[in-house]
């Protein structure tokens, strides 16, 4: 463990000469370990004393006092590359990284050509590269250049993230430094810290897939430096430098910033059909026996022919409809802001019965076990008998219930606007509750293993369905009202920071995220190997669900907040431009 201090050299009392004092506290209780630590420190001092290069800090002195050892070094005004990567919003420009890379090649070349023996830095990584005020790079921390301690028994330890495979076997050659240089550049260009990834996995994170602004040529140089076999890499730092300058000439990277690639065009996708209502569509459609049902803010529920979008009938209510209808036994169930749950014939659109609550209904009905479950702004979860249209029970919550109940294992799960989350049994009795920091508007998706939902507190939760204990929490960039969906071992959800996220269900690790231009309040759906999700930026996005790569996007005239429906290779989505669109999936 150690620290670095900024100090003033008092040998020069009349001027301010700043130095860096690197302190190393030797806490090891064992004398042999202590001895080794001191030796490492002194080796760094002696090594530095023999080196003269603008990118290597000068050493002034070193000493050991009791359990502390000190190096007095040239003070560098600046920041290390890791801090710069972390503090930069978005990606560092290619020309910036390229300039540093060329200087790193220079200093590596100097070290590798050192006489009598080449010096292998062994620990090239962003945090060991300082950028001074002139924008030049300085290589720091030569103390880690240690050999592997192979044990008399059991296990040895290697370093992580930036090191090449052969370094784990104790081999240190110039090719190892070139690999680590490649790893450093990869980190700088992609912002993906290799210490958080499995070793030697750079090829699984192609640079241009993460940062499309990087040139092909630059990616090729980094890839070659990161070749698994040392023989396949560049033969020397000079070769890397040459390749980099060729890139610079080709892309003009050293002259000006790389031009931003424009956003992908809507690629001329034509809808199969569209249908215009008299007001915004914020709900989600459902299809039953060739008919598509969709509610609109114009108070009507529409029945359309799913094949050609032809109007069949509409059923007027006295309030906007934002819920997703449910179809059961030839009837369509949906709530309206007129405070009623409406049940109409799926064929004719004629009313069967209605059920009154004391508040507008924004929660979609869920049908299970002969009952329809839904929430209302009256603060209750309602359970209504399908045959009689009468209330079986209602459960009082702390606030408006806008999320759609999820029913599994004889329990009804719902969140409400106070942030409370309830598991209620079929008799209407509370089994357990959970409290999020802010409202839970999104609905739940559940598996045998967990319940997943988001909250306005910017968190994606995974709860044990049996008792409400939190398995994991995943921080989203901002609040979310998007309902997650699952496929394989992945969970997808949108958030108001504009991203669509893919997260591993077991470990809560982010697999990818995709940026849209505005809030994502729509809920994603997966169909075959594609994910479909709308955004307030007006586009419906189709992504490859495993990688998050954009397949196509389709622009509408208004925000998309409803969830798309994919049925029989056709995507249906409503937009606040009053239209519902049918597109080829």
């Amino acid at each position: 463990m150690g620290s670095v201090y900024r100090a003033r050299d008092m040998h020069f009392p009349n001027v301010t000469k700043l130095v860096a004092v690197k302190e190393m506290i030797n806490t090891a209780p064992d004398p042999l370990v202590r001895e080794t630590i001191i030796q490492n420190f002194e080796r760094e001092a002696n090594l530095l004393a023999t080196l003269h290069h603008p990118s290597i800090p000068r050493i002034y002195d070193y000493f050991t006092k009791e359990s502390r050892s000190y190096l007095v070094l040239e003070f560098i005004h600046g920041k290390d590359m890791e801090a710069i990567i972390n503090e930069t919003n978005g990606f560092l420009p290619e020309h910036q990284v390229l300039t540093w890379a060329v200087e790193l090649c220079d200093v590596l070349d100097y070290l590798h050509k050192h006489k009598p023996d080449p010096i292998i830095f062994r620990d090239m990584k962003p945090s060991n590269v300082m950028i001074n005020q002139m924008g030049d790079i300085i290589l720091v921390d030569f103390g880690i250049a240690k050999t592997f301690q192979s044990g008399i028994k059991g296990t040895m330890i290697g370093t992580e993230g930036y090191s090449p495979p052969e370094q784990y076997r104790g081999e240190a050659t110039p090719a190892a430094d070139i690999y680590a240089l490649g790893a450093t550049l990869h980190h700088a260009l992609t912002r993906r810290d290799p210490r958080l990834e499995p070793p030697f996995s750079f090829s699984e994170r192609p640079i241009r897939r993460i940062n499309a602004n990087v040139s092909n040529e630059m990616e090729a140089v980094v890839n070659m430096a990161l070749e698994y076999n040392p023989e396949s890499r560049f033969r020397s730092a000079v070769d890397v430098k040459q390749a980099l300058t060729t890139v610079a000439r080709k892309t003009g990277a050293l002259i000006h910033a790389a031009p931003l690639t424009g956003p992908m065009n809507a690629s001329g996708i034509k809808p199969l059909w569209s249908f215009k209502c008299e007001d915004e569509i914020r709900g989600t459609p459902v299809i039953f026996q060739g008919l598509l049902y969709i509610g609109s803010y114009d108070n009507n529920l529409y029945g359309l022919n799913a094949a050609d979008g032809k109007f069949q009938w509409k059923y007027p209510t006295d309030g906007g409809i934002v819920t997703r209808p449910a179809v059961f036994d030839g009837n369509v169930y949906f709530g309206s802001e007129d405070k009623r749950l409406h049940v109409i014939s799926a064929r004719t659109g004629k009313v069967i019965w209605t059920y009154y609550t004391n508040g507008p209904i924004h929660s979609s009905p869920r049908i299970a076990e002969g009952h329809v479950f839904f929430g209302s702004d009256d603060g209750y979860i309602h359970a209504v008998n399908l045959n009689t249209g009468r209330m079986a029970w209602r459960f009082e919550t702390a606030d408006y219930v806008r999320s759609t109940p999820f029913v599994a294992r004889d329990l009804v799960y719902t969140g409400c606007e106070s942030g409370d989350y309830y598991a209620v049994d079929f008799r209407g009795e509370l089994k357990w509750r959970f409290h999020a920091k802010r409202s839970i508007t999104a609905s739940t998706v559940g598996t045998e293993q967990a319940l997943y939902f988001t909250s306005m507190d910017s968190t994606l939760y995974a709860l044990d369905p049996r008792n409400g204990w939190v398995l994991w929490r995943f921080r989203l960039g901002k609040a979310s009202i998007s309902t997650p969906c699952t496929m394989d071992d992945l969970l997808f959800v949108g958030a108001s920071d504009g991203f669509i996220y893919a997260v591993e269900t077991r470990s809560a690790k982010e697999v990818w995220r995709f940026r849209t231009e505005h809030q994502v309040n729509s809920s994603p759906v997966v169909y075959k190997d594609s994910l479909y999700c709308g955004s307030v930026d007006g586009f419906l996005y189709c992504l490859e669900y495993r990688t998050g790569r954009l397949r196509w996007k389709f622009g509408t005239g208004g925000a998309i907040t409803g969830t798309p429906l994919v049925y029989d290779d056709i995507v249906y989505v409503g937009s606040t431009d009053h239209q519902i669109y049918a597109l080829l999936a």
Partner: protein
Amino acid sequence: MDKFFRWLTGNKQTTPTPAQDVANTAPLSEQQIQAIVSNQNPRFDLQQLISSCGQSVGKQRELNEDSLIAMTATMAGNSGNLPFGLYIVADGMGGHQFGEVASNAAIRTVAGYILRKFHPYLFHIKSDTMDESFQEIMQAAVSEAQRAIQREAPGSGTTLTAALVVGQQITVAHVGDSRAYFIYPDGRVEPITRDHSLVKRLEELGHITPDEAVNYPHRNVLYRALGQGEILDPDIFTLGFPQPGYLMICSDGLWGVLTEQDLVRSINEAPTLQRACQNLVNAANSAGGPDNISVIMVQLLG
């Protein structure tokens, strides 16, 4: 033909088969099968964990650098009593001065941290669930252990495979090459952790075959260990408890010398979990016992 006629005429000379024999060879009735199955898999109206563990220094080492902890309890949750268990194996790095200090510090710190978090739930009645998630608690516990090792035994390292069981959920934190397995009654053995070892990584990348891996010279090189490196990124994940089945956690002193068939045999031959652990340790020692051996077996009943 002779027999046939005797049978046709109902010759009484044939010795009549005793009724008991018939019963013995006839297929079991559904009811009988149920009775036997329920005997083997006793149902418990309350879910409960049982566990056992075994350790040995092995045949070729003088010092035990493994540490383990196994704790089982029930917790008054807001939906009835919940099984609670904490099971950890840590294998201190050989070749470093303080392998045993590191592994001991790891289990002390991790178990201490987790138990402090669950103290109000284990020893008081709390109606609401915890704010933090299981995975966050595990992450924080591992980070604390990382600091403890760097303080108490700088330069040393240890593996850590910790399983926190609450209800039917197992949350695992894993660093290094100790392993956790699900073992099913039908003989399937499913490793649920991934070794952070060079050899495993090379195998994953297809640079060496599983057969080559067995004899790979740098088999013991880890790329991730508790106590090592500035950034530690443990594998943390949550799975459902196998039912029926076992959770097994062990150090490489066990899995390094026993095949999956050995594991299953040792477990199936044992009438109890205690004997299963003993069998496993004995089997590893019979196979040479080149390293310290630690094993924990856990079963969720009901």
